[in-house]
Amino acid sequence: MSTPRPKLAAVVTTYFKYSHAQHIVDRFLYGYGWRGTHHRPPMDLVSLYVDQVGEGDLSRSRGEQFPSMRICPTIAEALTLGGSKLAVDGVVVVGEHGKYPRNEKGQTEYPRWEFFQQIIKVFKDSQRSVPMFNDKHLSWNWDWAKQMVDTSREMGFAYMAGSSLAVTWRIPSVEMPLGSRVREALCVGYGGVDSYDFHGLETIQCMVERRRGAETGVKWLQAYRGEKFWDALREGRWSRRLMEAALCRSHTLVPTRQSFSDVLPTDDDMRQLVKDPIAYHYEHKDGLLCTMILMNGMVRDFNFAADVEHHRSSSVVYAPLVKDFNFAADIDGRSEPFSTQMYLPMPDGRTTLASFFSPLVNNMEKMFLTGKPTYPVERTLLTTGLVAAGMESLYRQQTRFETPHLAVSYQPTRESTFERS
């Protein structure tokens, strides 16, 4: 007896080399390297809707190469395959990249909510709904994002979303123990607001959601940019120790001293390297303080560090001294920072493949096969709200933005679903 292969529809904004749609849809079409084999997803991507077909478009040539994949002029057709009812078993939405308006707050208005509305209309008309994946944050607009999650609940379909950062390799390969007491956490990454800030926030959230008491939401957020960032750094708004630990996980620290290849930057060095530093500093309802830091010009990777009670590194510098060190740490009552890099093999000259999309696609596959998300969409609902709150705080002259609406509670999965084998 063989299980029928699920049929999938992909609904994307645009499809060119290095676009999210290319990375994701290509993996369904061509397979990808996975756990020591070239894995071919046990499902068929049968239809594709592309909102903007422009220069560099690959969707048409992909359509020619895969005649079994129907290129559709509307989202409805992609879901019904030209019939009157929903004819697929899962939907992949990639609303990233493409030319869309930017609002006065600097948010790109990707039509993820609009795509979602058109998809659930088919669900409703067909009186049947199927699992859906939404790449990156749910929407630039918090109310819409909330509505998207509520709708998925009401209609009872599996819904998953988010960034690759939560599922990619970690160097070292560490998992935040479930029930940890996390006192503070941060991430040092790179990129711009309303894009890579989301990756930094998901980096933090996939770790801290595992803390004792699980997630209950965020009370307020304060953004710092430019001079105010440097003031906040000097005033110790976030832990210097954690920031240093995160930087020590980076593989891409720009050396500030000529002729040196790897040096830890001083504050002056950072100011010299980073012209537009950004931090989102926020407090969870249970008091946990987190800071998402973007330091363009200094690093090109995402590094996480947290102060976790009783955390001890699995290996210290001298093997014969490990016990002594741990012993002293215990007496001292102080923990070492828990830190790791969320590894992005990046095709910006470093690699040719954005292999971090492989674990993302693999998690989607699991949801399409089982009808169950492999991690909660509430994680991404919360980080969606944090991106919007960060943009809001920046828009309001970097003032503290109260976020009573971000009372998002959820339980993490027992095991993290990041890639490690």
């Binding site: 290319q22 993996r27 390297g33 084999t37 390799w169 070292p172 040096v263 510098v317 001298y318 493949l353």
Partner: protein, 416 residues
Amino acid sequence: MLTRREFLQTTAAASGLLLSGADAPPQRLAIIATVYKYLSHAQHIGDRFLVGYPYAGAWHKPAIKVVSLYVDQKPEGDLSGERAQEFGFQVYSTIAEALCCGGKDLAVDAVLIVAEHGDYPRNEKGQILYPRYEFFQQSTEVFTRSGRAVPVYNDKHLSYSFTKAQTMVETSRRLRFPMLGGSSLPVTFRLPELELPLGCEIQEALMVGEGESDAMDFHALEGLQCMVERRKLGESGVRAVQMIEGDAVWKAGEDGRWSRDLLISALSRSDTPLGTGETESRPEDLVTSGQLPKLVANPAAYFIDYRDGLRATLLMLNGALKDFNFAARLKGTPEIQATQFLLTPEPNVTYSACLVHGIEQMFQTRVAPYPIDRTLLVSGILESCLTSKVQNHQRLETPHLKVAYQPPTQSTFCRS
């Protein structure tokens, strides 16, 4: 309260106290290099003893003071004088002077030999004749004369000549000083963090990599060796090697001389496949699609027949990928075990911090974290493969490569 860094400095000092019984002054290090310029191995490795390095989530400063430097060549961009001035040490004109800090007897606690890069001739096999043996000999002459020997690290292979390499290892045993050598590949990060179980039965192993011969093939061979040495009964040496090139490599694959399945598996770990990977950034199984021969103009296969019957292959496939990946089939395990040896980007090359960590550990504890015999064997494998290359790619018996050793219980790659 102590910060982690302060604590580590304290514990490092304590280890000095424990070992030497002295008042824990920093250890004194001599660096012996071919050249010291930006992005040379000497700069990457040597600088870490000067400015520290990232390790296990902290910036670690070794309790070691560089007190002297010898550079064999001062090309354009030479940094030796600049570093000496900034960090308060002397550049000496001979190795003996550097080890004695200008005095008559050995005046350092450790020696770091980095003889990679610089302008040196190649022999008929294409080996660059770096003077590693000569540097080592001059160092051990000082040890002998002073009646005291200190730990020595030798970057990369010990010598282009196995005979010379063997003499070096024998000398370290005779004079009883710990010695470490080799590449960063065995100690760098792995994706995933694969460690072959100690005592496993390996049916077949394969490494795939790229780069120029006598530099990158050494790295790849040592990456392969650090994996297979963990097999049942440990390492017993190599019976024969052969290196072939060109279409013969594909033919050998068709004949089952190397495993197509292992290559598919190893390549599945690569983040840098070329071909459609490069043009479209899309994953492709380059073996099954038949693209490999189109991408790789001059493939090379290094066949290693071990004395215990294990057969391992290194494929150097320039044009197919840009990273190093390993695959092996173990008895009793249906899935192929495969991993990528992650070479992190320039200029940081953080993998060299993993290497320096091991070197520092040996300097501090006088115990090498992994056996020099690994590097000795790989030096010999490479030399014999390159001999095969110039002798019509013939299979060569290698009775001299009867190098037996046991691997460390735990691999020493970076994973904390």
